[in-house]
């Protein structure tokens, strides 16, 4: 249906005004997006590429990179599964408390990350509600990997579900009902009908989720304990290096983090471009 575009231009502005507006947007993009990124890369390469690479392979820096990738590698699939389940429940079923569930999913968007981190410390810290029990059983949550994971899971919780809910709601239940009527099992139906219908939205959500999981600072900073080489993720390491007057190292890591985000974006664009036709058929928002 997108084929039937109107024969005359939609806008009525004169060409000079259009050009001016386009230029304004380009200038803003340059100032707000490109320039800061360029500065990060320029600072990282100030002493040459080898200095930048050397700073990234230094023991603590390398362990921060590994930790960040590992936190993302665990939290993103978990959030993808939970987000898919939540979106499915919300889009395909009617039940009491649905509105409450949708609001709850959005909660991490509205709660400040610092509050999220502090809440986890209050809950799991040594004087927290669960902390005493955890300590008695020698389970470490705060200032250790599980705390970092919990903080990241909390912060990135809405990303997948938020992408899926509108798509799933729009598609309705008709196709699933047809599959069931034809005798498909629940899992079979999910794999062959539901998942293919939403896989672009799912991928988009996963990519956004991944970018945020790697970049989260506030909540993670509260719960990290900042032990070098142990609980410092890349964003925390960047701040630490900067505070230690190690500019090249700080900006090299910042450049790497930015590059990982750009890679995520490029991946998304590439998929969108290669599968543009499929995409326009399934994603309409």
């Amino acid at each position: 249906m997108s084929e039937s575009s109107p024969p005359h231009p939609v806008t009525t502005e004169a060409p000079p005004i259009r050009a001016l507006l386009t230029l304004a947007v380009l200038a803003l993009t340059l100032v707000l997006l490109i320039a800061p990124l360029a500065v990060v890369f320029a600072e990282a390469l100030r002493d040459g590429l080898s200095a930048a690479l050397a700073s990234l392979t230094e023991r603590d820096a390398w362990s921060a990179i590994r930790l960040t990738l590992f936190v993302a590698a665990v939290s993103v699939p978990l959030n993808a599964i939970v987000g898919l389940a939540a979106a499915w429940a919300i889009a395909k079923f009617d039940f009491r408390g649905k509105a409450v569930l949708i609001t709850l999913i959005d909660l991490p968007f509205s709660v400040s990350p610092v509050v999220a981190g502090l809440a986890l410390v209050l809950l799991y810290g040594s004087h927290g509600w669960l902390g005493v029990w955890l300590q008695a059983h020698e389970l470490k949550i705060v200032f250790a990997f599980p705390g970092l994971l919990l903080a990241t899971l909390f912060i990135t919780f809405p990303f997948v579900a938020r992408e899926l809910i509108p798509v799933m709601t729009e598609q309705g239940r008709a196709e699933e009902e047809a599959a069931l009527t034809l005798g498909a099992s629940g899992w079979h139906m999910f794999r062959t009908v539901t998942l293919p219908n939403v896989h672009w939205a799912l991928l988009y959500g996963v990519l956004l989720c991944n970018a945020r999981a790697m970049g989260e600072f506030g909540a993670v900073a509260v719960i990290s304990g900042k032990i070098r080489g142990q609980t410092t993720t890349m964003p925390i390491m960047i701040e630490m290096l900067y505070n230690e007057y190690l500019s090249v190292a700080a900006f090299s890591m910042a450049a790497l983090l930015a590059a990982l985000a750009l890679l995520t974006l490029a991946l998304k664009s590439l998929l969108e471009w290669r599968h543009a036709d499929l995409l326009s058929a399934t994603r309409r928002h």
């Binding site: 362990s63 930790l67 590698a73 470490k140 200032f143 629940g186 899992w187 304990g225 630490m240 007057y245």
Partner: protein, 340 residues
């Protein structure tokens, strides 16, 4: 309508859990670990000291030890230890932050300060002014800081140990002026904080605000932090101004028995603190701009660097047990003057 699963994607979950067990940050702790939770400006010193200690420890015929560091605002770091950050050793900016750990958790005895020489302060420092090159505002002493055209950078006394020393140094100077009284000291400090445009949580954050972001005309800084800034950022960008009166700042160190796992760890932790008082470590502290006690192995330059100045002492304020609640506690003098 009803949708029912007959099979669940169990293999996926199992694979995920297995991968997390394999790839997790190395949990195997064959060698002894030691976590030193410290405050902001000691990053460079403890990086050097950890190397020195590790070498000495092995030279004594012991197994190698893994030394871990955490840095932040002193008060914030104490808070983290109270909340369960498992430090075997704390090296904080002032005694009252370690007192806070002793008071709010069971990991540390209340009489910890008697555990090591010199009130458990292996090195001391003081508070000086860092100004921009050529001292464009002509700042010479504390009274210049409350001139209309001067902006002062200090971290927040609530979270930063250095900032509490800043506060008390200012108070001590005002009290020592002719006709000085508690009231005039309070007026001076109130006025001083009106000249502070931003309160960072830790000393290093404040230094960054002043040196890199170019905010303010004068930074109230640890002497060691000021020397380090000169060293790192170039002596032609900043100058140190020594006020007529400052304070003897005693950063304290302590063992945290509640976080010690076994006898091997206790032995390393105790040695780690004791060795801070060795001539080698004291020379290292002096080279890192701290005023250490034992100068026998230090280079002349590292000793002569420190100017003589009149220092008030925390004892003049009744010790930290009295000064902390009175000045920095909830509803204390700092809260009162910032509310005005």
């Amino acid at each position: 309508m009803t949708l029912a699963f007959r099979r669940t994607p169990a293999p996926l979950l199992a694979a995920l859990l297995a991968s997390s067990a394999v790839m997790g940050p190395s949990l195997a702790a064959a060698e002894t670990r030691l976590l030193n939770v410290s405050y902001d400006p000691t990053r460079e010193f403890y990086r050097a000291y950890n190397a020195l200690f590790a070498e000495w420890w092995q030279a004594q015929g012991h197994e190698p030890v893994t030394l871990e560091q955490s840095h932040g605002g002193s008060g914030a770091q104490a808070r983290a230890v109270i909340d369960g950050l498992e430090a075997q050793v704390v090296t904080l900016a002032l005694a009252s932050d370690i007192d806070a750990i002793a008071a709010r958790s069971e990991v540390l005895p209340k009489d910890w300060q008697a555990g090591l020489p010199h009130n458990s302060a292996p090195y001391t420092s003081t508070i000086v002014f860092l100004v921009r090159e050529g001292n464009p505002k002509g700042i010479a002493d504390w009274d210049d800081l409350i001139r209309d055209d001067v902006q002062v950078i200090t971290p927040n006394p609530k979270t930063s140990g250095g900032a509490r020393w800043n506060f008390l140094a200012a108070w001590g100077w005002a009290l020592n002026q002719p006709g000085g009284s508690e009231e005039s000291a309070r007026d001076y400090v109130t006025e001083l904080f009106k000249h502070v445009p931003v309160l960072d949580t830790g000393a290093r954050g404040a230094t960054t605000t002043f040196t890199r972001r170019g905010v303010g005309d004068v930074l109230l800084a640890w002497e060691n932090e000021a020397f380090l800034a000169l060293d790192e950022l170039g002596e032609d960008s900043f100058e140190i101004v020594v006020p007529s009166v400052s304070i003897l700042a005693e950063p304290s160190v302590a063992l945290v028995p509640g976080n010690i796992e076994d006898e091997a760890q206790r032995e390393v932790a105790q040695a780690y603190l004791d060795y801070l008082y060795s001539p080698e470590a004291q020379a290292l502290a002096l080279a890192n701009y701290y005023r250490a006690w034992d100068t026998s192995l230090a280079a002349d330059d590292d000793i002569e660097r420190f100017p003589d100045l009149e220092l008030v002492n925390i004892a003049d304020f009744g010790g930290w047990t009295e000064a902390q609640p009175r000045f920095f506690g909830d509803g204390g003098i700092f809260d009162q003057i910032t509310a005005e």
